[in-house]
């Protein structure tokens, strides 16, 4: 077990594909049991700045609205650089959160954002078939980042 690796799944499981973050965490806890620390949450919170400082590699998995460049079901992984600027404690982006960790704790982890383009963000506690189908690939993407 890599105690210095963390997987965070962000989203609302009651809003259809927005629950992909929590689904990734749940899936990873089965397929990679004990390999990393995991956290499922509705949104990023200020106190996670302290949490991140305890890890060397972190992946944040979240849903995204589809775009022409990122059609439904696309899994995208990008490294996140810390952002240094004003922010609301009620709405933190991964970059801002990493910036907080860097400024406050001086030990920011390497951070990746894995996004999955969703199809349906309505009231539902299930993923759409397209997003459900890419769940294993999304978990594999997270695992690749955390395994490095």
């Amino acid at each position: 077990m890599h105690c210095d690796r963390l997987l965070i799944g962000v989203g609302n499981p009651l809003r259809g594909d927005d629950g992909i973050g929590a689904a990734i965490v749940a899936h990873a806890e089965q397929t990679h049991a004990g390999a990393w620390a995991t956290l499922a949450c509705h949104q990023l919170l200020p106190e996670y700045a302290a949490l991140l400082s305890h890890y060397t590699r972190v992946v944040i998995a979240d849903a995204a609205y589809p775009t022409p460049d990122m059609p439904i079901g696309t899994v995208r992984c990008v490294p996140v650089q810390p952002a240094h600027g004003s922010a609301s404690p009620h709405h933190l982006t991964p970059a801002t959160l990493l910036g907080w960790t860097q400024v406050l704790y001086s030990t920011p982890p390497r951070l990746w954002l894995v996004t999955i383009a969703g199809a349906d963000f309505g009231y539902s506690d299930t993923l759409s078939p397209v997003v459900q189908a890419v769940l294993p690939a999304a978990v594999a993407q997270c695992a690749a980042c955390l395994a490095g």
Binding site: H42, P46, H84, A87, S88, W100, V103, L104
Partner: protein
């Protein structure tokens, strides 16, 4: 003569606010209004729903203080069931309510107000924000994060999640506290105590820099209202309603919370969706009152825990009660945080706290229920009526922040009259008007507390109604 400004309501739960200022011929501020232009329809759309849904449904009013609504709604449902909540359940509810107060106060003080307090009201607005605070005072920011984390973690350990836990239910709570969770919570107490005690060391000396603000930020006579107990100590969960006047006289004691409608009226102003509650015996608007941490400290003889009592004694030694300046809501928040941490520790060490008898079950036995508790921002009232099937037929709520509406309006008028002269609005003035609102910490905070970009719209009108100056933010 004024010009009516129409702004479409923002439909998010946490919305926006607007301030309008009206000047006379000499350029002096004659009127100031805080317009809350968000609509909460909860009293209407819960009608027809089963009463037992109310705690979870009403908690959705807010993502910051959902626990407060959970508690007040559950207390109202306790009344509908006509049950006595098991003592351990009441203690557990108290712990969660205090944890909510701690995290909310910490958020306001460290993250929302500290940029003003530590960087200065007139400092560069591009730096006077949360990230500026992180860079200039990282130790303070870390303390804020850890204190907020303390409250949030206790809520999560009790209720399963930090936001919208469903653990507080009609009749009690739905799961007893485990020994492991109790030990985990107790283990966090020393660090939290250390943080708040060092904060209470560095903050009071700062007050010397804010004498003008202390004089003008909602510094006027008013009533103070809150829950009170027979010990004369802080009370956030039970007890009777006490009303104190600005001379410190208890003009009403042990008012029955269930009879709130006898002594609290709710006025409606045409320019705001936020009602203006008032103390009925004095009429409207003379019955203006304040609630929240400052009011609560004004109402008690002592806090009720050793360290908080010492902090309270220090505070009152230099600020004779009743303290009238709303600027001191900040100081009061810190003392309440200290009290909350100590009280949580006491409750966790209660010999019955691990009891498994934490819920009373019953069918509805009454058709009307009222629940009152103290939220971070003040007294919170939930009132429901149900039909024979247990479906809600009527709901009314007096939200903690709403109690302060009249005082907030008067507070911004006072500050504007002191700081605004002429036809030009300077940024420092804008910030001070905002800071009056921040001192009250109304729960419009997702919008009005956006760090460094508070979405305010300030209009300066001439007597003929023409717009002299306009400033937007956010």
């Amino acid at each position: 003569m004024t010009r009516r400004i129409e702004i479409n309501p923002v439909t998010r739960i946490e919305g926006h606010a607007m301030i309008s200022l009206h000047l006379d011929d000499a350029g002096l501020v004659q009127q100031a209004h805080l317009h809350v232009n968000q609509l909460r329809g909860f009293e209407q759309f819960c009608v027809g729903r089963p009463f037992y849904e109310m705690p979870a449904l009403m908690a959705r009013i807010c993502g910051i203080c959902p626990v407060s609504h959970l508690v007040a709604a559950s207390k109202a449902c306790d009344e509908l069931l006509a049950v006595q909540v098991p003592p351990t359940a009441a203690k557990l509810r108290r712990i969660m309510n205090l944890a909510q107060i701690i995290q909310s106060h910490a958020l306001n003080f460290f993250h929302l107000s500290s940029p003003d307090l530590l960087l200065g009201m007139d400092s560069d607005p591009t730096q006077r924000n949360l990230f500026g605070l992180l860079q200039s005072h990282p130790e303070r920011a870390r303390d804020g994060i850890r204190l907020r984390q303390f409250g949030q973690q206790i809520i999560e350990l009790l209720g399963g999640k930090r936001i919208h836990p469903g653990w507080v239910v009609p009749g009690g709570v739905n799961e007893p506290l485990s020994k492991a969770h109790r030990e985990q919570m107790l283990g966090m107490v020393p660090d939290a105590l250390a943080i708040i005690e060092r904060t209470l060391t560095w903050f009071p000396p700062l007050l010397d820099q804010f004498s003008a603000e202390i004089q003008t930020f909602g510094n006027f006579p008013s009533l103070f209202v809150g829950l009170a107990n027979h010990q004369g100590t802080l009370e956030h969960y039970d007890g009777g309603i006490r009303v104190m006047d600005s001379a410190g006289n208890n003009i009403a004691q042990w008012l029955e919370p269930n009879h709130y409608a006898d002594y609290i009226g709710e006025a409606v102003e045409p320019d705001s969706y936020l009602k203006s509650p008032y103390y009925k015996p004095l009429g409207y608007p003379d019955g203006m009152y304040r609630v929240g941490p400052l009011a609560r400290l004004n109402l008690v003889d002592r806090c009720g825990t050793p360290r908080a009592d010492a902090a309270f004694a220090t505070f009152t030694a230099s600020h004779p009660r009743p303290v009238l300046s709303s600027f001191h809501y900040h100081y009061a928040r810190l003392i309440e945080i200290l009290y909350g941490i100590e009280q949580i520790e006491l409750l966790l060490n209660d010999p019955d706290i691990l009891s498994e008898h934490v819920r009373a079950f019953a069918e509805p036995n009454r058709s009307e229920g009222i629940g009152v508790s103290e939220a971070p921002r003040g007294t919170l009232i939930h009132h429901y009526r149900i039909d024979g099937q247990g479906l809600v037929t009527y709901a009314n709520m007096i939200i903690a922040s709403g109690n302060n509406n009249l005082a907030m309006n008067r507070g911004i008028l006072q500050a504007a009259r002191h700081f605004v002269h002429g036809t030009e609005i300077k940024e420092g003035m804008l910030n001070r008007v905002e800071a009056v609102i921040r001192a009250f910490d109304p729960c419009l905070s997702c919008s009005t507390h956006a760090a460094g970009a508070m979405p305010f719209h300030i209009c300066l009108h001439a007597p003929d109604g023409s717009l002299l100056h306009e400033l937007w933010r956010g």
